[in-house]
Amino acid sequence: MTGAKMGFNTKRQTLWGWILISPLCLGLTLWVAFPMGLSLWTSLTEWDMLSKAEFVGLKNYITIFTEDELFLKSVRNTLYFTVLSVPLQMIIALGGALLLNTQVRGKRAFRTIFYLPSLIPIVVSSVMWLWLFNSQYGLINYLLHSVGLNRVQWIDSRHMVIPSLTIMNIWNVGNIIIIFLAGLQGIPKDLLEAVEIDGGRYWHKFRFVIIPLLSPIILYNMIVNMIKCLQLFVEPYIMTGGGPVNSSFSFVLHIYNNAFKYGKMGVANAMAWVLFILTLLISLVIFKTSCHWTYYEGDR
C-alpha cells in the first residue's frame, strides 16, 4: 500500500483526497446538479422571475408540443443543421487528415493554416461571414458571378440559410483535422506494411486498418460535434435573427427568447429539458450503433 509506505494511514489519505477534489464536488453541485434540478422544477411552473412561481405540472411540456408551432420548426431547423454539418465535418476532416498524413511538403504550414479558423471567436466569424455572404457586395457571390455562375441568396434565402451556416461551420473544421491526424500518426506502421505485403491497395489499408483503428476517435468527435451543433445559437442570433421567415430559427434561440425576451422561464426550461433529452437520445443511438463500426484494441 503506497499510502502506508508514505507514512499516511488510509483515513488521512481519504481525507486529503476529498480535500483536493473538493472544488470538483462543489462545482458539480453548484454548477451542474443544482441548476439541473432548478431547471426541472422551474419547467413545471409558470414563472416570470418577478412574481411568485406557480406550479402547473406538465402544462409547459404539453403547450410546447401542441400549441407552439415555432418550437417544432426550431427543432426541425436545428436537426437539419446537425444532420448536414456533422457528417460533412467528419468526412472533410478525415479527408484532410489523410492528405496531410502523406509525404507532403509543408505539412506544418498546412496544419497551421487549417487550424487558424478554429481560433476565431464565433461572434467574429459570424460578423465576417455575414459580410462574405452578402448577396450584393459579398465576396462569395462576386466570385461566383465572375466565373459565370448565378448569384446565390445565401442567408437571405429560406432554403439556403441553413446550408450557408453549415458552410460556415465547416470552415472551422481544422481542429478535428488535427485530432484525426494525430490519430493517424498513432497507427502502427507494421499493420499498414502487412497490408502491402499481402498485395493490398490503398483502399484496403483505408478500409481494414485506418478506419477501424481511428473509429473510437471518430465516434468521440462525432458526438462532441453533434452536441455542439444541436446548440446552434450565436450564428442565427447575430446573422439572421432566426430569419428569413424563421428558417434559421434554432432551438436554443427559441429557448433564449422565451426566457429573456418574453420572461417565460417555465416554458424555456421545459424546452431546455426537451433539448437535453433529445441530445441524450441521439448520443445513445450513436453509441448503440457504434459497436458495429468502432473497434477498441483489446476486445474482439
Partner: protein, 277 residues
C-alpha cells in the same frame, strides 16, 4: 503507367491541400482588407479587391464609437482570473484523482467526465436564476467564479498527464517529510508545466471567445467583454462595416499572436483532449 499514377495522386493531394488552405485564409484576409476600407468603398461594384486608399481611421474609430478599450480591459480582467482559477483548481483535482487512492475517486472522475456530455446551454437559464439569487447579475463574478471549480476537459487532460509522472517522486518527498500541498507545488507543478501551459492557453481561448456568458450576465455597456462588445456596432439602421471589421480584427489579433507563439501547446492540447474518448 505506375509512375504517372503516382504523380497524378501527388498533384491531386497538393491541389486539395492548397485549395483547402486558400478557403481557410481568404475569409480572414477579406476581413482585414475590409477593415482598411471606407464604407463607401466597400459598397462599390465591381468590388475593389485591394483598397486604393487605406483607411486606418477605422481602427481609431473603433475606440471612439464605443468604449472598446474598456471592452478590452474587461476581457483581459476576466481572462486573467479564469486562467488563475483553472490552473489552481484543475491541478489540485487531477492530483487528487490520480495520485491518492481513496474510495469514491473513480466515481468522481466519471461524474466529471459525464459533464462533457451535457449541453452547456441547458444549464444557462438556471445558472442565470442562481446568480440572480446571489445578486451578482451585471458583475464579473458569474464569469469568473466557476473557473475555480475545475473543468472536465482540463481534469481529464491533466489526469492523463499526471499518470506519466512516476510515483517515486511523491514517495521520496514524503520521506523528506513533505505533505500533499507541498508536493503539488514543489514537485508536480514544475513537472507539469507543459500541461499547465496547455490549460492556460485553452482557458484563455474559451474565455476570450465566450459569447453566451457575457450576453446573459452583463447588462451595462461599460462592463461588456469583446465578444459581446462587437455586437454594439451592428444596428438595424446603420452598421459601420469598415469599423466593425476593424473591431473584429482587433478582437482576434491576440488569439493569432498567442497561437503563433505557442503553437505546439495548442496541438498537444488538442491531441491529448480529443483522442481518447
Amino acid at each position: 503507367m505506375m509512375r504517372t499514377r503516382r504523380t497524378g495522386a501527388v498533384v491531386l493531394t497538393y491541389l486539395c491541400l492548397v485549395s483547402g488552405a486558400i478557403c481557410c485564409l481568404i475569409p480572414l484576409l477579406w476581413l482585414v482588407r475590409s477593415s482598411l476600407m471606407s464604407t463607401e468603398d466597400m459598397f462599390k461594384l465591381p468590388l475593389i479587391f485591394f483598397p486604393k486608399k487605406i483607411r486606418f481611421q477605422n481602427y481609431a474609430e473603433v475606440f471612439t464609437m464605443v468604449p472598446f478599450a474598456k471592452f478590452y480591459a474587461n476581457t483581459i480582467f476576466v481572462v486573467t482570473f479564469n486562467i488563475l482559477g483553472a490552473l489552481i483548481s484543475n491541478l489540485m483535482i487531477a492530483y487528487g484523482l490520480t495520485r491518492i487512492e481513496f474510495k469514491g475517486r473513480k466515481l468522481m472522475f466519471s461524474l466529471s467526465i459525464g459533464t462533457l456530455m451535457l449541453p452547456a446551454y441547458v444549464q444557462l437559464i438556471p445558472l442565470f436564476i442562481e446568480w440572480n439569487w446571489f445578486g451578482k447579475i451585471n458583475t464579473f463574478f458569474p464569469l469568473i467564479v466557476p473557473a475555480f471549480f475545475g473543468n472536465a476537459f482540463f481534469i481529464f487532460m491533466l489526469c492523463q498527464f499526471l499518470r506519466t509522472i512516476p510515483r517515486d517522486f511523491d514517495e521520496a518527498a514524503f520521506m523528506d517529510g513533505a505533505n500533499y500541498p507541498l508536493i503539488i507545488v514543489k514537485i508536480i507543478f514544475p513537472l507539469a508545466k507543459p500541461a499547465m501551459a496547455v490549460v492556460a492557453i485553452f482557458q484563455f481561448m474559451f474565455t476570450w471567445n465566450d459569447f453566451m456568458g457575457p450576453l446573459l450576465f452583463l447588462n451595462d455597456r461599460e462592463k461588456f467583454t469583446l465578444a459581446i462588445g462587437i455586437r454594439t456596432f451592428i444596428s438595424t439602421y446603420y452598421t459601420p462595416w469598415g469599423v466593425l471589421m476593424a473591431a473584429a480584427t482587433l478582437t482576434i489579433l491576440p488569439l493569432i499572436v498567442l497561437f503563433f507563439s505557442a503553437q505546439k501547446f495548442f496541438i498537444s492540447g488538442l491531441t491529448l483532449g480529443g483522442i481518447k474518448g
